[in-house]
Structure formats: structure tokens, C-alpha cells
Symmetry: C2
Subunit: 252 residues, 2 copies
């Protein structure tokens, strides 16, 4: 089979954060598939076709991409951020595992990208400078009890926590529940970063605390970072503080 499938991370938004390797992989593709918000960032060339679809259709999009690659096309599937972090790469490999044996012989390649937590972190300092975890709050694909359990254990481990998919119109309650869990195990003055639309024209970053955070200001375009007990704020005159987590840590 001469077809090819590349799963590509476009980074959080601006062209300056799209790697040259990702850019090259897009240029080489015949057919580009993805969620509309990401395919909208690509200007197709004359030989290229774009198939945009809804956010919730990850598995069917992956199956469609694999089918096209098996037919001999050079297919690109695009994600925002990094495709391997709560994005299309896992859906593609799920589809491979469930699909015909012949798909296992396909030429599949993943192009990494800058994932949202790295971009959000860079904007305000270095909150991920020490041990951290990334947890998705979407319970479309896992039970809420598991999410809550992971939040409690991440607290206990004193990890910095990056929350992906913290809320959507269909799921306004999760982020409220998540902050309630965190309030039971971290101090009220724990630093909270709400990084909305990082790298986009409407970027908005709020640095607050667990006691003061307003869950209603969190939406599906927000990446939430919850500090550990070691995370520090450097206050500045007339500017937002910097937030960082030191490389060293105290006793367990």
C-alpha cells in the first residue's frame, strides 16, 4: 500500500508555534481531516481536499482517515496542540486496533506539537517546572468517580495539575465539582491559572487562588493549572505576577 496517514499537532494557535515538520506534513497531504476549528486554520492548496467534522466524531473521523490511507491517499489528520494529548492520535490507534488487520501495515506517523499546558505555562512563568500531571475533566469517556479519584491522589502526591477539557456547554458542572475536590485537599491560597485561548487574539489569562476562583469563567477553550504546595508567585508592580514551581522540593 502506498497510502500514508500523518496525525499532526498544530500547536495552540499561532503560526509561530507550528513546527516546520508539522507544516511540511500538511503541505504533502492530499486530504486533510479534522475538527472544523482546526481545519479552519489551514489554507488548502489546489491539490488538497479538506474534510471537516464535528468535535465529537473522533473515532469515525479516524476510521475515515484510515480508509482513505488504505485506498492509497496521503492523508493528514489535524489536532490543536499536540495530537497525542487528549486528541486525535489515540482515536486513530483505537480505530486501527478495532479495524481490519490490513490497517496495521499502513504507514502511520504522528507529528508532535506544543500542547496547551506548555503554552499556558510559558505565558506566566514556569508553573510546570516540577513534577506535574495532566487530567482531562471530560466524563464523556470515563466515569466521574475515576476523575475525582485521580484529582485526590494528585493532590496527595503534591503534583501541579493541568486540567484539560475543564468545561463545555454540555458539562458545566464538572469544573465546579473539581474545584470542590481540590478545596478539600489543597490550601485556599493555592495558585490557580485560568489560561483561555492561549496564543489566539482573544487570549485571556487570569491568575487567582483556589478560594477566589470563579468556575463560571472556565469554558472549553480554557486550560486550568492548579499549583502544588511548592508553586510560588512573584509579585510585580503594575503587571501580572509570575508563577513558577521551583526545581527543588522539601521533604515528603
Amino acid at each position: 500500500m502506498s497510502g500514508r496517514l500523518t496525525v499532526i499537532g498544530l500547536g495552540p494557535g499561532p503560526d509561530g508555534w507550528v513546527t516546520p515538520a508539522a507544516r511540511d506534513a500538511i503541505v504533502e497531504a492530499d486530504i486533510i481531516l479534522g475538527y472544523t476549528a482546526y481545519t479552519n486554520r489551514i489554507v488548502p492548496q489546489a491539490h488538497q481536499r479538506i474534510e471537516a467534522s464535528d468535535n465529537r466524531e473522533e473515532l469515525s473521523r479516524a476510521q475515515r482517515a484510515l480508509t482513505l490511507a488504505a485506498e492509497g491517499h496521503n492523508v493528514a489528520v489535524v489536532s490543536g496542540g499536540d495530537p497525542g494529548v487528549f486528541a486525535m492520535a489515540a482515536a486513530v490507534f483505537e480505530a486501527v486496533e478495532r479495524g481490519p488487520q490490513s490497517w496495521r501495515a499502513l504507514n502511520i506517523h504522528v507529528e508532535p506539537g506544543v500542547t496547551a499546558m506548555l503554552a499556558a505555562s510559558a505565558r506566566i512563568g514556569a508553573p510546570l517546572g516540577h513534577d506535574f500531571c495532566a487530567i482531562s475533566l471530560s466524563d464523556n469517556l470515563k466515569p466521574w468517580a475515576l476523575i475525582e479519584r485521580r484529582l485526590r491522589l494528585a493532590c496527595e502526591a503534591d503534583l501541579v495539575i493541568a486540567l484539560y477539557n475543564p468545561a463545555s456547554k454540555a458539562r458545566p458542572a464538572q469544573i465546579i465539582q473539581a474545584f470542590d475536590v481540590l478545596k478539600s485537599c489543597r490550601a485556599p491560597d493555592t495558585t490557580i491559572v485560568l489560561a483561555r485561548a492561549v496564543g489566539r487574539p482573544d487570549e485571556d489569562i487570569d491568575i487567582t487562588t483556589l478560594a477566589k476562583v470563579d468556575p463560571s469563567s472556565v469554558d472549553m477553550r480554557t486550560l486550568v493549572i492548579v499549583g502544588s504546595t511548592a508553586t510560588r508567585r512573584i509579585e510585580r508592580v503594575g503587571q501580572k505576577p509570575w508563577v513558577y514551581t521551583p526545581r527543588f522540593a522539601g521533604d515528603a
Copy 2:
């Protein structure tokens, strides 16, 4: 003050993984500081000066960079991967906090990059496709008891675990101890990925299990990924398996 300090992530190695924004920031700098392994990746222009230093001198390098920026220079500090993940950004903000008040007024900017775990993940599938954590095994800056505690809790939370700085010549024992901890809480057939020198000419990726992994094959250039109970392998004829962690998860 007209000086400026940019902390830049060069990605794991190849030029194709250096973002255009990182590339631009390097071009604009007058003085570039970093660990020799990273400054060696930069060809200085006529107006540029490079100050290379040893891996262990992070804080003094940060202080030097801030001093130069305060004098009016346009300074770049380079890291491999992403500068915010176990790298120079945290050291720079530590130095700011400890340093003179005037440093808080400096123009400091962090340019994110592709961190090693994303590149390693992309090479073999999507092992970070679901909740995960990143833990540094270096106990130069934190007690081993804390590292061990975090590994146990990450196990209990059933997170995929990326281990940074798993071993060095000065610390050959940590990775042995870490695998011993993991053996006490994860099954023998847990997938282990040893991703050495990802993106470099001598890249070497080994996919094995917790029962079979040989700690002596892990060095300071290796990124280790430990699967969760959900992580799956897709076997292929005549090729390495793909490894991925599904987006869905079972009951807690």
C-alpha cells in the same frame, strides 16, 4: 531598561521540531546562554556571542542571563525540549525571586517547545492519550522519599507515567529503585517504553514490559514511559508494535 531575556525551548533535537517563534527569538538575541549540548545546536551569527556552561550550573546561568539583560542586552537562554518542563525557565524565575527587585521589571519571555515525552509518544503511537504525569527522578533537588511517594500515588491513580532524568553516571541506582517501586504496584506485563535520543541520529526506542526491562539500558538521554492499566499494544508483523492509551477508561 531596554534589555530582554527569552527562555527558549529547542525541542528534542531536529530542526523540524524547533518552532518558528523559537527560531526567531534565537536570531534576535545578542547573547545566547545554555548547557553546551544545547548551544552546540546553534550556529551563531556575526553579532552573537554564545556562553556555554555545564548542565549543573542552572541557577548561576540564570543569574548571569538576568544580569546581562539588566545591562541592556537581548539575551536568550536555551533548553532542549520545552524550557518549562524540568529545564531552565524555573531556574530563571527562582533567580528573579532571589535577586534584586529591579529584575522583576525586566522583560522576560518564555518560548515553549516540544518536550521529550511528546516526541517519544509520537514515535510509537499515543501512550499519553489519556491522563498522565511527568516525574523527574533526579534527587539532586528533592529527596528520594518524595519521588518514591509520587510514583506510588501515580500508580494508585492509574496514570501513565513519563520519567524524566531517569539516570546519570552519578545516579545509576534511581531507575532500578523506581522500577522496583513500580513492580510493587503495577502488573509485570505493564508496557514500558525506553525512548533514547529521540529525534537524534542515534535514536533508539525499545518497547518492553515491567517484568523484562533492563535498567542498565537507561541513561540520561532516555525518556521512560510507563503504561497505565489501560495502555494497549497493537502487534504488527515485522515491525515494532504501536502503543496507545485509549481516550475512554473503565470504572474506578
